[in-house]
């Protein structure tokens, strides 16, 4: 009887495993719930003249524009000193300072929201680009456009042209690199899920396996521990790393675009009715020179020493 019981358990397990296998192995005929491709992007605002009026928009909170970004929010993208007892660290998005801080309020104004009707919510970068419903109406967090990302979230027209750069210690061997080819022999690091990591893997293809960190800050810690020779990161963030996070850091150089030039998009819920309105507002901010003014004020001016709030 004992043996019988044990055999039973074993056979039950076999049946179970077999069932599980057939379940996973079943031919998966790609249930093509086609990623609702960009249908609303082109169609929305023409129907009624004020489809983009705050009252007609489907918002997280009625009458309020809920904007997401990562916490801490870093210069030069955000500025201002966060209140001591608040949730925000390093910078205060509510200040409207920094490129993205200022852009967010300019965009909100174009969409018809006053400063008081803008609500900020902290959303980790990697949550923004995942599929699924979001906690924000729009997210402004240096999200580079990519076709893969656009399958999961709506990505607006670009509001900032980005390029990648390499950060290292001044005087270290890698600091003398003159080309992408020269970087191949060094140990590089980047944050997981970023276009910077994709750049290492697809364009630089280094001989030593790249180190991959949870965030850019941890990549800086890895550089400080001299476990990597250089960090690949957005150029503007590179200025911040060199100016505020590293002693004796240097930008080895900005990297040429791999394939199509990179730009930052506002991220929205997939199929959001807001997307077309945001695109229209960004186009307006481009034409009236606001974006260029912001770039000169917050990005071009920073040189080697970004102004970090004390």
């Amino acid at each position: 009887m004992r043996r019988g019981l044990r055999l039973t358990t074993f056979l039950t397990a076999v049946v179970f495993v077999a069932a599980a296998c057939s379940a996973t192995a079943s031919p998966t005929p790609a249930p093509t719930t086609a990623p609702a491709t960009a249908a609303p992007v082109t169609a929305a605002p023409t129907a009624t003249p004020d489809a983009c009026a705050p009252a007609n928009l489907a918002l997280k909170a009625a009458g309020k524009l809920t904007i997401g970004t990562d916490n801490p929010a870093f210069p030069p993208w955000f500025g201002g000193e966060p209140p001591a007892n608040g949730v925000w660290q390093v910078s205060d998005p509510l200040s409207g300072l920094g490129y993205e801080g200022a852009f967010a309020y300019a965009l909100a104004a174009k969409l018809g929201f006053t400063k008081e009707n803008v609500v900020w919510v902290a959303v980790p970068f990697n949550n923004v680009i995942q599929p699924g419903p979001k906690d924000f109406d729009i997210d402004i967090n240096q999200v580079s456009y990519s076709a893969e990302r656009a399958a999961n979230v709506d990505l607006s027209e670009g509001y900032f042209d980005n390029s990648q750069a390499v950060v290292a210690f001044a005087g270290s061997p890698i600091a003398g690199a003159k080309s992408v080819e020269d970087l191949k022999g060094y140990k590089l690091g980047a944050a997981v899920g970023t276009t910077s990591l994709a750049y290492i893997q697809n364009a630089i293809k280094p001989t030593a396996e790249a180190s991959v960190y949870n965030t850019n800050d941890l990549a800086v810690a890895g550089l400080q521990a001299r476990q990597i020779d250089g960090i690949v990161v957005d150029l503007s963030t590179a200025f911040y790393m060199v100016g505020a996070q590293l002693d004796n850091g240097a930008i080895v150089g900005s990297l040429p675009a791999a394939g199509t030039p990179e730009y930052f998009s506002v991220a929205l819920n997939k199929g959001s009715t807001l997307t077309a309105c945001v695109n229209r507002a960004i186009a307006a901010l481009k034409t009236d020179g606001t974006l260029e003014k912001l770039r000169v004020e917050w990005i071009a001016s920073q040189g080697n020493a970004p102004a970090l709030a004390p």
């Binding site: 055999l7 049946v15 599929p131 994709a198 949870n214 890895g222």
Partner: protein, 268 residues
């Protein structure tokens, strides 16, 4: 041969087929299934991610094998220090106690970050910088504290009369420990030691925090490249395949020990 036992096997098989079959049917036909299948069971992503993760898990295996080889003797030394009798050994007992208290209290990922980023950043000459090295050191420090407590439980489970008997036979304190107490203690705690070993295997994933591309980090990279959670399932499968044989071995050891004890009791 196939009497009542054989029939109950057949009945169990049939009943299992019905139960699991209908459960499976229910799951596959539930409204969210296509979405779940696309997100978690993408065959294409599985095929792409599997070889990459299979290569990456070698890092985890190196981590826990090297660490375990260090943990087993180190933990025993700590346990013995904590079990030393007499007032002279007080500072050693105190040190060992502080050690086990500290390293069981501090989260493993914090120790890894503290050592892995912190010590190399000091730039001391001759101190290794590799993240992998500090990952092994951190895991060893943390798990030695747990393992020391397991050993100590084993040491304390050996009846004091055995030490008294050994001493009365003329063995020194050290000899009594070496030949009488420790062999019995270690044998008794093999199952919980294996338990900690399984814990260690899983915690190797924490070393990704300092940039090491081990299996979990590789899964994250694949996940964020495809926005599909199948790579995480691959990781889970790899860990299951790695730990289940150990779990069965532990069960077997426990069972063998139980049978031996029953046998001695029957004859004694």
């Amino acid at each position: 041969m196939l009497g009542a036992g054989g029939r109950s096997v057949l009945i169990a098989l049939a009943s299992s087929a019905v139960v699991f079959g209908s459960l499976g049917w229910l799951v596959v036909n539930s409204p969210g299934w296509p979405l779940l299948e696309r997100s978690f069971l993408d065959a294409q992503v599985f095929r792409e991610s599997w070889p990459r993760q299979f290569a990456a898990i070698w890092r985890n295996i190196q981590l826990f094998l090297i660490a375990e080889l260090l943990i087993l003797p180190f933990g025993l030394v700590i346990a013995i220090l904590r079990s030393l009798p007499g007032p002279v050994a007080f500072p050693l007992r105190l040190l060992a106690t502080i050690y086990t208290d500290l390293f069981r209290a501090i989260p493993g990922v914090l120790v890894i970050g503290l050592l892995g980023f912190g010590i190399p950043a000091l730039g001391l000459p001759g101190v290794p910088r590799e993240a992998f090295f500090w990952g092994v050191v951190a895991l060893t420090l943390v798990y030695s504290a747990y393992v020391a407590e397991v050993y100590r439980a084993g040491i304390q489970s050996v009846h004091p009369s055995q030490v008294a008997a050994a001493r009365s036979l003329g063995l020194t304190q050290f000899q009594a420990l070496r030949y009488v107490v420790v062999p019995q203690a270690v044998r008794r705690v093999i199952p919980p030691l294996l338990n900690d070993f399984i814990g260690l295997q899983k915690d190797t994933a924490l070393v990704s925090f300092i940039g090491v591309v081990e299996v979990f980090r590789q899964a994250q990279i694949d996940q964020s490249a495809n926005f599909n959670f199948t790579p995480y399932l691959v990781t889970a499968l790899l860990f299951v395949l790695m730990t289940i044989p150990l779990a069965r071995l532990t069960d077997w050891l426990v069972e063998r020990d139980r049978r031996r004890q029953l046998a001695t009791r029957a004859f004694g």
